[in-house]
């Protein structure tokens, strides 16, 4: 306001303030990064370093632990617990595939066919999150209880004969078998599969479906050649969001499984909290992290998502 009232020659060149403002502007991204970086530093990087040092320590709780660069712990942990590692990866992979098979049709329906029901269905997908993870898994314990209606029906339909033959159940029970653990994992991680799938399906221009139909692709071919390839980013992020936490999960195996279905998460948990062998627990954590990291890297390379728009 005052500037307009001043005589023209009194107006100072606007160069310096502009310069200062642009410097401040350039600093904005760093200010925005700061809280996140601090958070990760305190709650991720520091604990990781602490864990790394723990994993190469020796000693006992009474005498105290000292860093002795004892890498042997890694080898010992791997040789002793490799069945649990394999089991974890197998269960996580099975649950991921089941999530994909269950989640894809649902995500497809919500994205393309739901019309005005779309938002309601999305709310229903995330509705289980309103209840605690533990309570939901405990509920599964009741659902799959021996002699319960679910087990009865599966028995009558001879489904359990098939799953027994596959080694997923034993006799006439579901609880405390691999099937129960895989079911729990599938159930608990399903929303993490559906949401990314929905997001990438919803972004697909429906005119591409029309174009494919116009170019002699029947609906099944349209799905194979157009819809599915374009939903690959969602498939990749959905499977990662399911597989990674599922492979480290211990709650489902703890509540729905038995000693024969222990996953690596259970081993780590008991090493930490019951046996109090911190170095082994830390080493197991790092081995799991490395395995998952390698698998994920190979998977992303193979899926070739960087090629997608």
């Amino acid at each position: 306001m005052t500037a307009t009232a001043a005589p023209p020659q009194a107006v100072a060149p606007a160069e310096p303030p502009v310069h200062k403002a642009s410097l401040r502007k350039r600093l904005v991204p760093y200010w925005l990064l700061l809280p996140g970086i601090l958070w990760l530093l305190v709650f991720f990087v520091l604990p990781m370093l602490y864990q790394a040092s723990t994993s190469v320590q020796t000693g006992s709780l009474e005498e105290g632990f000292k860093v002795t660069w004892h890498f042997q712990t890694y080898w010992d942990a791997l040789t002793e617990y490799y069945p649990q590692f394999l089991r974890s990866l197998l269960y996580a992979a099975t649950a991921t595939v089941l999530c994909l098979l269950l989640g894809y049709p649902l995500a497809y329906l919500i994205a393309f066919k739901a019309g005005r029901w779309r938002n309601l269905l999305l709310v229903l997908v995330i509705a289980p999150f309103f209840t605690s993870f533990l309570i939901r898994t405990l509920a599964w314990k009741t659902i799959l209880a021996d002699g319960g209606p679910v087990v009865d029906v599966l028995n009558t339909l001879h489904v359990l004969d098939v799953t027994s033959w596959l080694g997923m159940t034993e006799g006439e029970r579901v609880l405390a078998t691999p099937l129960a653990v895989v079911c729990g994992l599938t159930y608990n991680f399903l929303p993490f599969m559906i949401l990314p799938l929905y997001t990438s399906l919803e972004r697909i221009d429906t005119r591409l479906h029309e174009a494919a139909g116009d170019l002699y692709a029947r609906p099944s071919t349209t799905f194979r050649k157009v819809t599915f390839p374009l939903s690959m980013p969602g498939v990749v992020s959905g499977t990662l969001l399911t597989f990674i936490p599922a492979s480290g999960d211990y709650v489902n195996a703890e509540l729905l499984g038995s000693t024969d279905t222990r996953m690596i998460g259970n081993v780590i948990q008991s090493q930490y909290l019951r046996i109090l062998d911190y170095p082994t627990a830390a080493a197991l954590s790092f081995i799991l992290m490395a395995i998952v990291l390698i698998m994920v890297t190979v998977y992303i390379r193979r899926a070739g998502t960087e090629d997608l728009v």
């Binding site: 139909g213 170019l215 050649k225 157009v226």
Partner: protein, 383 residues
């Protein structure tokens, strides 16, 4: 798919489309001859795209049938129709390169050796060196040509184009109009082109159907539509028309004489879209470029027998090849006149008294019961 020997006319019989209580297309009969370049012209929401989509099979008609040659295809899904579409926003497959986009239709029909055909087709649209690119790496005009190539490679009986040039800038649009016309002449396939751009329709098409409110208002060759509009909508939507409300003084077998605000005008009875009756009303139309303009002082230079109107220049704008005048006349408040800039008369400035004259043969007559302004606003919106 490429059965070109069977008569390839597209025939729409009583075809209509309702969405709930809204009628997008009223029952429509239309025959599009094989090998022609046919344009469906109209403002947005006039039902032209719906009509096109019914031919493609992307929309199911509420009533009526669609036939290609002797074959009725109304119930056939799009992937079984020998028809291909160039979509408004091209709808190229973003995950496939240009080569695979163009090869898509051939592969779906189980053709194994597509290389030669794809390369020839990319050559036709001059995109040979872009085969390995992804669609998003091409410009709008190039994407448009890929869309045309992707459809044409299948040798459809009919190629449907849904506002294919809408997303391009004016210069590129002109270029693509000529390009499409060239391709159509070269391949000889029936093109059905949907557009809201009257200039585009007239440049490219052999036959234009002007649609308005879900109905075809008039159908004909571009020059015929332009010279002999049958409704005020067509008269105003295609180019500009000066429409004058007049009273019929004399309705002869060959000539009709009308009067309006003291001026007496003549027009051929054959160019009236309605049968004029003495004492009745008639809308008299004349195109702005048919009118000549002289200063009022030179009125006696106007040859006898020409239609004459007096008026005052309200505005003039110089646009290079011509000067466009708006004339205020007792006959009609805003007459438009386009005068070619051959010899410019300095006296023809706003405020000057002038005489407008034209050959009576260039006058057409329309039914006065219609809305005189139909089609005017939509032109502005569309352009």
């Amino acid at each position: 798919m490429t059965d070109k020997t069977a008569g390839g006319d597209v025939r729409l019989a009583g075809i209509s489309k309702h969405y709930g209580s809204f009628t997008a297309v009223h029952p429509l009969d239309l025959t599009i001859p094989q090998g022609s370049f046919f344009a469906l012209l109209g403002a947005s929401g006039c039902g032209k795209t719906t009509t096109l989509r019914m031919i493609a099979g992307l929309e199911e008609p509420s009533t009526g049938t669609v036939s290609l040659g002797d074959r009725e295809v109304t119930q056939l899904p799009p992937y079984k129709r020998p028809v291909n579409t160039v979509f408004q926003s091209y709808a190229l497959f973003p995950h496939l390169n240009i080569y695979e986009n163009v090869a898509f239709g051939l592969r779906r029909r189980g053709i194994k050796s597509v290389k030669k055909q794809v390369e020839d087709m990319l050559e036709l649209v001059e995109l040979g060196q872009f085969a390995q690119r992804k669609p998003h790496q091409l410009s709008g005009g190039q994407q448009q040509r890929v869309a045309v190539a992707r459809a044409l490679i299948n040798h459809p009986q009919v190629l449907l184009l849904d506002e294919p040039l809408g997303a391009l800038d004016l210069k590129l649009r002109r270029q693509m109009q000529l390009e499409l016309k060239r391709i159509q002449t070269e391949v000889g396939i029936t093109f059905v082109h949907v557009t809201h751009d009257q200039e585009e329709a007239m440049t490219m098409a052999d036959t234009v159907a002007v649609m308005n409110g879900g109905r075809v208002e008039q159908l004909g060759a571009p020059a015929d539509l332009y010279e002999n509009p049958k409704t005020t909508f067509v008269a105003n939507f295609l180019g500009t028309s000066n429409l004058i409300e007049a009273e019929v003084l004399e309705a002869g077998a060959a000539d009709v004489t009308v009067g309006s605000a003291g001026a007496t005008l003549r027009l051929p009875a054959a160019r009236c879209s309605t049968t004029p009756k003495a004492g009745g009303k008639l809308l008299v139309g004349v195109r702005p470029e048919k009118i000549s303009l002289v200063h009022a002082d030179e009125e006696d230079t106007v040859a006898a027998g020409r239609n004459k109107i007096r008026g005052t220049i309200a505005a003039s704008s110089f646009i290079g090849v011509s000067t466009q005048f708006v004339i205020d006349s007792p006959v009609c408040p805003e007459l438009e006149v386009y005068v070619q800039n051959i010899e410019r008369d300095a006296r023809l400035a706003p405020g000057a008294e002038v005489v407008l004259h034209w050959n009576p043969e260039h006058t057409f007559g329309l039914d006065a019961a219609q809305d005189i302004d139909a089609g005017i606003e939509t032109v502005e919106e569309g352009a």
